[in-house]
């Protein structure tokens, strides 16, 4: 026994080695990337600020004081505010007030809710849809693969942005037509149900990962189950409200300030790339020796998919999805900019810039904060995505 303390036994070595999973490796690599970690911290802080916007923001986003219209910041920001325009009441606004006398800082904080929600939900939806689709295509028979991927090719060739614009116009006009559901709020059972479902999925995912040998695939299963529950809850809510399906959907959309239809339009667009990526990855791994070995020892298809394929496929997919988030955020900003995104007075960085830019000549300060927030957030997701990519790519390691 004493000898074991001097020279580690084979068992100890194996135990020590097992701790270095590919995910642990990636994490260790990511930790070293200071920019990526700084970006991660920024994103977490921004997320917290968005979640607790009611307490963090100095004012409510639609608090309008017309006498304070376009007052400047009390901070001495050079160039932005030509001297002497600071109204006495302007001292209340750290970054000034906009063209309607609303606090820009508060609106930017609330606007973060939209950008982050769109970015993260967009990533979530397209990841679940795309991975399931790509997995079926890649793992199924060649004929199925052919049919499924032809469909993706087909959709890929379409001017999808134009369809998104048309869909958004359609949703907005439909909402206006049925417009008397303005003050809808989500019932408590719905909100708590979703929170409970999320909690159950997270805990269940962790447990399944640890004790049923599913590893990181449990994460994806959890996501899928949560997506299903979410869809079910939405249908239940629609039935509970009891209006026509359209009226209910529009009520939900109103309660979310116009984000709900944006999610649908985004989900419609963005799963294609993920499906292609997943399918390609699955195809390349399907032929590898370790999968063949798994087949040979009699593993079931389910086990092979969840135990062997998914953990390998997941890394590249997460990287691709992180790098796609800036695209979703930019797309939301673009749609809000042309008036097809978030419903005013709910702020989003896109519609803040859109309503602010006509005042560029006289009051450029209105644009500064939302523009900076938009750029920084996209930058952060780009840095994080780059960092993740480097972390997951063993070839780049020295």
């Amino acid at each position: 026994m004493a000898a074991a303390t001097d020279t580690p036994s084979a068992l100890d070595l194996a135990a020590a080695r097992r701790e270095r999973s590919p995910w642990g490796d990636a994490w260790n690599q990511l930790i070293k990337n200071r920019l990526a970690i700084a970006s991660l911290v920024y994103i977490i802080v921004l997320t917290l600020m968005s979640i607790f916007a009611n307490s963090v923001a100095p004012f409510k986003y639609d608090r309008t004081i017309l006498s304070d219209t376009a007052t400047c910041s009390y901070l001495p920001i050079p160039f932005i505010c030509p001297g002497g325009t600071v109204a006495p009441s302007g001292t209340k606004y750290m970054f000034g007030a906009d063209e309607l006398g609303r606090d820009i800082l508060s609106r930017t904080i609330y606007g973060g809710q939209v950008s982050l929600a769109v970015g993260l939900v967009g990533a979530f939806v397209s990841m679940v849809l795309g991975m399931v689709y790509g997995l079926i295509a890649g793992y199924g028979s060649q004929r199925l693969d052919n049919i499924m991927m032809r469909l993706v090719d087909f959709l890929y060739a379409m001017p999808i942005l134009i369809f998104i614009i048309l869909l958004q116009v359609f949703f907005k006009a439909k909402a206006r037509q049925l417009g008397n559901v303005q003050n809808f709020e989500f019932p408590h059972w719905f909100v708590y149900g979703i929170l409970a479902a999320a909690l159950v999925c997270i805990i269940g995912g962790i447990l399944a990962g640890k004790y049923y040998g599913l590893g990181v695939s449990a994460f994806l299963i959890g996501l899928g189950v949560f997506a299903l529950i979410l869809a079910g809850m939405l249908i239940a809510l629609t039935l509970a409200i009891g209006g026509s399906p359209w009226a209910s959907l529009i009520a939900i959309d109103n309660a979310m300030g116009g984000m709900f239809f944006l999610f649908i339009a985004l989900g419609f667009l963005n799963w294609l790339g993920m499906a292609r990526l997943t399918r390609g990855q699955v195809l390349s791994f399907k032929k590898k020796e370790f999968i063949e070995a798994a087949h040979m020892v009699g593993s079931s298809d389910t086990r092979i998919i969840f135990r062997h394929l998914l953990p390998n496929v997941l890394g590249p997919c997460i990287v691709a999805e992180t790098l796609a988030i800036p695209g979703y955020i930019a797309l939301e900003a673009f749609l809000s900019f042309i008036g097809l995104g978030i419903n005013p007075p709910r702020p989003s960085w896109g519609n803040m810039i859109s309503t602010g830019y006509p005042h560029l000549r006289s009051n450029a300060h209105i644009l500064v904060l939302p523009a900076v927030a938009l750029t920084l957030t996209i930058l952060a997701f780009n840095f994080l995505g780059d960092g993740l990519r480097d972390a997951f790519d063993p070839r780049l390691r020295e």
Binding site: F79, F154, A157, M158, P159, L161, I162, F163, I165, L166, L167, V169, F170, A173, K174, R176, Q177, P326, A330, A333, F334, F337, I338, G350, I353, S354, Y357, L360, R361, A364, L367, A371, L374, T375, L376, I378, L379, N382, F383, D386
Partner: protein, 323 residues
Amino acid sequence: MVKYAIRRLLWSIPVLFMVALFTFVLVRQIPGGPFDFAGDKSLPASVVANIEAKYHLNDPLPKQFADYMIDLLQGDLGPSFRYRGRTVNDIIGESLPVSFQLGLMALGLALLIGIPAGIIAALKQNTVYDYTATGVAILGVSLNSIVLAPLLIWIFAVNLRVLPAARWGAQPPFFLGILPPINAVFFQHAVLPVIALGLVSSAGIARLTRASLLQVIREDYIRTARAKGLKERAVVMRHALKNSLIPVVTIIGPLFAAVLTGTFVIEQIFGIPGMGRHFIQSVGNRDYPIVMGTTLVYGVAIVVANLGVDLAYAFLDPRIRLE
């Protein structure tokens, strides 16, 4: 190669047909019709019914679509519902060249800046040049044209007053239908929108070029080229660059689509009378024929761009053809 090209070409026919069908149906499902309002006043229902009858909007949808497709095959995109007495062909004929000039210059700028910057960054990896280029590039990808355009206007038009903030410096008719006049007014007006549109894409291209060239330079055949004593210049120019630009070619398709998207915003901000502005206005006006016409032009443009890219790719990389 020819077979491959023909197959790809035939493939685009159902795509365009579906674009037309989907747009046609969807745009008519949007609540509200093109003749609900005249100016700010709403028209009486009987008048609306009469006008709609005149434009065959009360026909069954399949018949409307069939009629539209028959006209389309003869090159007739129909009349505009909003601009009285003007056809969609007229409107597209005037606005498409403007968007085309804007988009093409932006694309050119993106390639002109992006590729050399990527090459320099890759060849001088881990030097000041590399860090500057990659730093600027990642900042560039993160800048959005809705941020960049107001910023450029604020700097160059509002404060320095050296460039115009809005409008396009040339009007139709253009030489050969598409070429802009070569004069100072045109270029002065083009500078800001082209930069606002092209700079973001150039950053993406620079990043891709750098990554691709770095990968190629580590390949065995480059080592062979060096080992047989070729000059560094020849190694890079003749051997490395050719292969490293293949991924750059493939990104031109998506890039083209991105530039098209960008024109929506840029035309809006700079008040440029291009097709993007017409499209967005017409969706709001329910001007069905203009929406259909512009969508089809965008569809054709994207299909043609993808086709060109695929063919170029197949030409550059023979493995694709044998698939």
